[in-house]
């Protein structure tokens, strides 16, 4: 219980002092560019996904528990973490055959 409360405090503090490291990924011709990024562990991260295609895309990651529709020629902000080290794959659900990528947490 104490550990849980400590975690709560940690999480709330993390939200309060929001100056997260920011990473950018582009969507170009139904592919993620770059399709692999490395982000720090134990820290909330701000992900900016720029859809440069004319068509909408849905950024989705079951492992990260995130999904967001990004209209054509627009960008979206998605907050993730703080995460444990590991690999977290994501896809563009509307073009799953080409739009794949992963976030490496170190």
């Amino acid at each position: 219980m104490r550990a849980f409360l400590a975690l709560c405090c940690f999480a709330v503090a993390g939200a309060a002092f929001a100056d997260e490291p920011t990473f950018e990924i582009a969507i170009r011709d139904h592919r993620f560019v770059p399709n692999e990024i490395t982000v720090p562990a134990g820290q909330k991260v701000k992900l900016i996904v720029k859809n440069e295609d004319a068509t909408p895309e849905e950024f989705e990651s079951k492992r990260l528990n995130r999904e967001k529709v990004i209209p054509g020629r627009s960008q979206a902000t998605i907050y993730i973490g703080p995460l444990r080290p590991g690999e977290y794959p994501f896809v563009g659900e509307f073009n799953e055959s080409t739009a794949t990528g992963k976030i490496v947490v170190k």
Partner: protein, 276 residues
């Protein structure tokens, strides 16, 4: 065409299963088909509108409009399901006894039908809007005929699974029937509440508390068909956050306690021990 069908199927499935559960849960209430059908139709109309407004919604409120919109829809659906569950706590016994005697439907279910019809509208609207966007997107690169065939195949597949669930449910013995549908409504509501929590985390409105409680994706991927079914029916998520878990448990606990309290107030809960 098949790639299109698979994605449409995935989007349709959630709405189809919710419609089936609602149809089963309102068995014996007069006018339910009209209300549920109306809910689906309103949802499809709403999906077209929301799809057209995607850009405006996504860009609103400093870029978190989409998350807040989704969370609001999910929370509204949870409230509607909760409303129904509490109504059943008071009226379930009467419904069950009429169902047993195969006598006429209950007429005073108008309010709960409206609530559930609205929940259906919200489910169809949310999943439908994504389907519309996806279809628009593939239609730019694939021949229209293939796209439409994929759409038809996907919707049919989703609806067929929904129909299967409904047929399974109506074969549950009458004395257990409303207990089973009641539990399904509770699980559904809890899963939707956890989804709402996730959108609020994604928007950085609420902290995840614990970002990843566990990860069962190597055992059961949410992308697999069983994973998807469980996701809709009981809110299965391979790697839930602490906040999601808390919202899930809190929804179940609140509904159980409130229903129990309501049924002792009215004496209306169907009890299997007393049913013969």
């Amino acid at each position: 065409m098949f790639a299109t069908a698979v994605i449409v199927f995935r989007e349709t499935l959630e709405a189809a299963l919710i419609v089936s559960i609602v149809l089963a849960a309102t068995r014996g209430v007069a006018g339910r088909r009209r209300w549920v059908g109306g809910g689906v139709a309103a949802g499809i109309a709403g999906a077209l509108v929301i799809a057209a407004l995607t850009e405006a919604i996504a860009g609103a409120l400093q870029g978190i409009g989409q998350e807040l919109f989704n969370a609001a829809i999910l929370i509204a659906a949870v409230v509607m399901l909760a409303w129904h569950h509490l109504w059943m706590a008071a009226h379930g016994r009467k419904l069950a006894s009429r169902l047993r005697r195969l006598s006429d439907s209950v007429r005073e279910g108008g309010a709960t039908l409206a609530a559930l019809s609205f929940a259906v509208t919200l489910a169809v609207l949310r999943e439908g809007a994504e389907t519309v966007l996806f279809i628009q997107s593939v239609a730019t690169s694939e021949p229209l005929r293939n796209v439409l065939a994929g759409l038809a195949l996907g919707v049919t597949g989703g609806a067929a699974l929904g129909a299967l669930l409904y047929l399974g449910l109506v074969h549950v013995p009458v004395r257990h029937f409303f207990r089973v549908t009641g539990w399904m409504i509770v699980a559904l509501a809890a899963g939707l509440a956890a989804q709402a929590a996730r959108f609020l985390e994604q928007a950085n409105v609420l902290p995840p508390i614990v970002p990843e409680l566990w990860d069962t994706s190597p055992i059961l991927s949410e992308a697999s068909l069983p994973g998807q079914l469980l996701h809709v029916l009981v809110g299965y998520t391979p790697a839930p956050s602490g906040l999601q878990f808390m919202c899930y448990v809190a929804t179940i606990a609140t509904l159980i306690i409130a229903a129990r309290w309501r049924s002792t107030m009215t004496g209306g809960r169907p009890r299997p021990a007393q049913a013969t």
